[in-house]
């Protein structure tokens, strides 16, 4: 699970959960895959990304203060920033661990890179 994927996931599927975002991460195994850098793609993605949620996810993985707290101005032309964003969004993958619903504390396991966001019948 890339952090870009994580940035889009919510636990809203649970009964009584209104926002369910962002999901906390407790990682047991993380890997880094090299992915080709495409500045145009990353620039477009940054518009969709909830930046504070990304920072928090990075923090959960132990990367404290590695990302600026806000998206920098004129980021389209800031290659250093885009590369950093690319690394966090596209290259870091949580392979095993749990995602935590911020409202209920319910854990969603991540196994071999696949989050299981399926709620039980009594949870929906």
């Amino acid at each position: 699970m890339k952090l870009l994927t994580h940035n889009i996931l919510t636990s809203k599927c649970l009964k009584g959960v209104t926002v369910g975002y962002p999901l906390g991460i407790v990682a047991k195994e993380v890997k880094v895959n090299e992915v080709d850098f495409n500045p145009e793609f990353i620039s477009r993605m940054i518009q969709k990304v909830d930046w504070p949620a990304l920072c928090k996810a990075a923090e959960n993985l132990g990367h404290t203060d590695e990302l600026p707290q806000t998206v920098v101005d004129d980021y389209e032309n800031n290659e250093e920033f885009l590369k950093k964003a690319h690394h966090f969004l596209m290259e870091i993958e949580v392979m095993n661990g749990d995602l935590i619903c911020p409202e209920t504390g319910r854990k969603f396991p991540v196994t071999d890179g696949i989050p299981n966001m399926l709620a039980n019948e009594d949870e929906v």
Binding site: L9, S43, R44, M45, K48, D112, I114, A119
Partner: protein, 574 residues
């Protein structure tokens, strides 16, 4: 048309006469007027207007009109009324008015002179002798007798318990004529006797009760039948001459209402142009229908009661159970074999994906083995599926981003995806409500202006002469032998044939070379053949997917089409 008669009066004789107090409104027929005036010379034209108590008649020669004026004006007594006829001269005749162009309901067939006078006489005699017998009911507006099955006026349905008497043998010559026209043999007959002034309210015979092709034979009197389009609301009145046969098929049977206004006469088109009055006589109608034994498969879903009733009404528990046994477990069991046989993306889905710009987010709801992930490297794809085995296949191939989730509740933020695809997924859901919920959730996830493409398996596997690839698939791929599935909870479909039911189980024969023993632990309930899995499908009929989409607020269907045995819709979030 509005006519200003005052500007048109002439104080001196002309060849044009206005009959001031004789017109369609006060019950004059064309023939009656012509009878009176043709004695004086050749009538050039007679214009009778609907809703007017006058008419305009022109002679070829002016002296004929002058003579008739002298002889008739103020002295000729009209019919049995005491009032005399009043006439005046007009400078010119009325311009021939434009007849409103009539719409003819699609699929409506009228065969004039369907039976001879002799045949009509025989049928009238027979139906009148029957009328006095039992089982005749006097409705508010007419007398009715049913044969074969009872047509329930009120609900416009049929009582599917057969009546003691079937269609009488006396109808056999008629039925043979119907069959010559390629109509199916009817098994229900309603005989209605109408006296002048009686009618029948506008109605559509219930879809689930009767097959396509409702036949009505008119005996004893011409009648004007009104048709109303249930969709557009346009109305058209059609004269059914006595001895004619009316066949309602297609749109006219499923999407139009028909009825007879209770009145004693009708205004109709005259044979030589213009309008005239048609007085009603006693009329007997014979309505032949064929009782439907399976669900209605019409495409007029908005008016089809079958659409709701035909969907097997599973309880939530049963629905869960069927999806678990016949969808989730099946896909986990057949994952590798399925994936090996499902590798090429469908071209129309691929071109939809390619239509989005770099950096768009695509969610693939029910991504299966992820065959659409590689269509475009400039998009960010996230897939969801219920099958862990299929998700593993995706993940192990190029680390695709996949999440295990229910398609009805995707675990994504609101208004985030530019594109969504949901290909061959919602036909695996057991209820209409679940299928709709999935579409609503897809629209929730889309950004404003975002587009989704939905594919579902079509009940019609052959449109026109073109067979779908499903029907054409080589027999060698699967055993074509029909097998018995004694424990199956739903009808089991015979592969490579057209679908007979909407909710079915479709066998998947596992090829042992592609499977392993672990997979065989999860099986659908096909006890007879351990290598066969039964997948649940709800196959969609034409228009059903669009109808489902119409229930989702803030989306617009951009296009809908048929693609290789699937009904497909592309919609946009507003």
């Amino acid at each position: 048309m509005s006519v200003n008669l005052l500007d048109n009066f002439s104080s001196s004789p002309t060849n044009v006469l206005c009959l001031i107090n004789a017109g369609l409104l006060n019950g004059f027929t064309r023939e009656e007027i012509l009878d009176i005036f043709e004695r004086f010379g050749d009538v050039e034209n007679l214009i009778m207007l609907e809703g007017k108590s006058y008419c305009v008649l022109s002679f070829k020669k002016e002296n004929n009109s002058a003579e008739s004026y002298q002889k008739l004006n103020g002295s000729f007594c009209l019919k049995d009324e005491s009032k005399p006829l009043y006439l005046c001269f007009l400078k010119y005749t009325l311009l021939s008015f434009q007849e409103t162009s009539k719409v003819w309901p699609t699929g409506l067939i009228l065969k004039k002179n369907f039976i001879s006078l002799g045949e009509e006489e025989k049928l009238l005699f027979f139906t009148h002798t029957q009328q006095s017998e039992s089982q005749t009911s006097q409705l508010k507006h007419r007398t009715v007798k049913h044969y074969g099955f009872e047509f329930l006026y009120g609900s416009n349905k049929v009582d599917k318990n057969p009546l003691s008497s079937g269609i009488p043998v006396e109808m056999e010559p008629l039925i043979e004529k119907f069959m010559e026209f390629g109509l199916a043999r009817p098994n229900q007959l309603t005989v209605n006797h109408y006296v002048p002034g009686q009618g029948i309210p506008l109605h559509t015979d219930t879809h689930s009760s009767f097959e396509d092709g409702i036949i009505s034979v008119s005996l004893g009197s011409d009648i004007v039948m009104d048709f109303k389009n249930n969709k557009g609301g346009e109305c058209v009145s059609i004269t059914l001459p006595r001895r004619s046969c009316l066949i309602m098929t297609n749109e006219s049977r499923y999407m139009w209402s028909h009825g007879i206004t209770p009145r004693k006469s009708d205004v109709v088109d005259a044979e030589l142009g213009g309008l005239t009055i048609l007085r009603r006589e006693k009329r007997t109608s014979l309505t032949f229908r064929k009782i439907r034994t399976s669900e209605c498969d019409c495409k007029f879903t908005e008016w089809c009661d079958s659409l709701s009733s035909k969907i097997v009404d599973f309880s939530e528990e049963a629905a869960d159970q069927i999806e678990k046994n016949h969808v989730f477990h099946v896909y986990d069991g057949i994952a590798s074999h399925f994936s090996a046989t499902r590798h090429s993306p469908w071209p129309n889905v691929k071109s939809f994906i390619m239509s989005f710009p770099v950096g768009s987010l695509l969610v693939d709801i029910g991504c299966g083995n992820g065959k659409y992930f590689n269509c475009s490297s400039s998009l960010f794809n996230i897939g969801t599926d219920r099958s862990s085995q299929l998700l593993k296949i995706c993940r192990n191939r190029d680390d695709h981003q996949v999440v295990k989730a229910d398609c009805r509740v995707s675990p994504f933020r609101d208004s985030i995806a530019d594109a969504a695809i949901c290909i061959a997924v919602i036909h695996h859901l057991t209820t209409d409500e679940r299928r709709l919920k999935t579409l609503i959730d897809i629209s929730r996830v889309l950004v404003k202006g975002g587009r989704a493409l939905i594919y579902v398996w079509a009940r019609d596997q052959q449109i026109g002469i073109e067979k779908s690839t499903y029907l054409l698939q080589k027999k060698s791929e699967v055993s074509s032998r029909a097998e018995a599935y004694p424990t199956a909870v739903l009808p089991v479909h015979e592969n490579r044939t057209n679908f007979k039911h909407a909710d079915i189980l479709v066998p998947w024969k596992l090829n042992f070379r592609n499977s392993n023993s672990e997979e065989l632990e999860y099986r659908g309930s096909s006890e007879s053949n351990p290598s066969t899995y039964l997948r649940f499908y709800h196959v969609f009929k034409e228009g059903e997917l669009e109808y489902l989409c119409s229930k989702v607020s803030n989306i617009t269907v951009c296009r809908s089409f048929y693609d290789q045995g699937n009904w497909c819709v592309e919609f946009k979030k507003e």
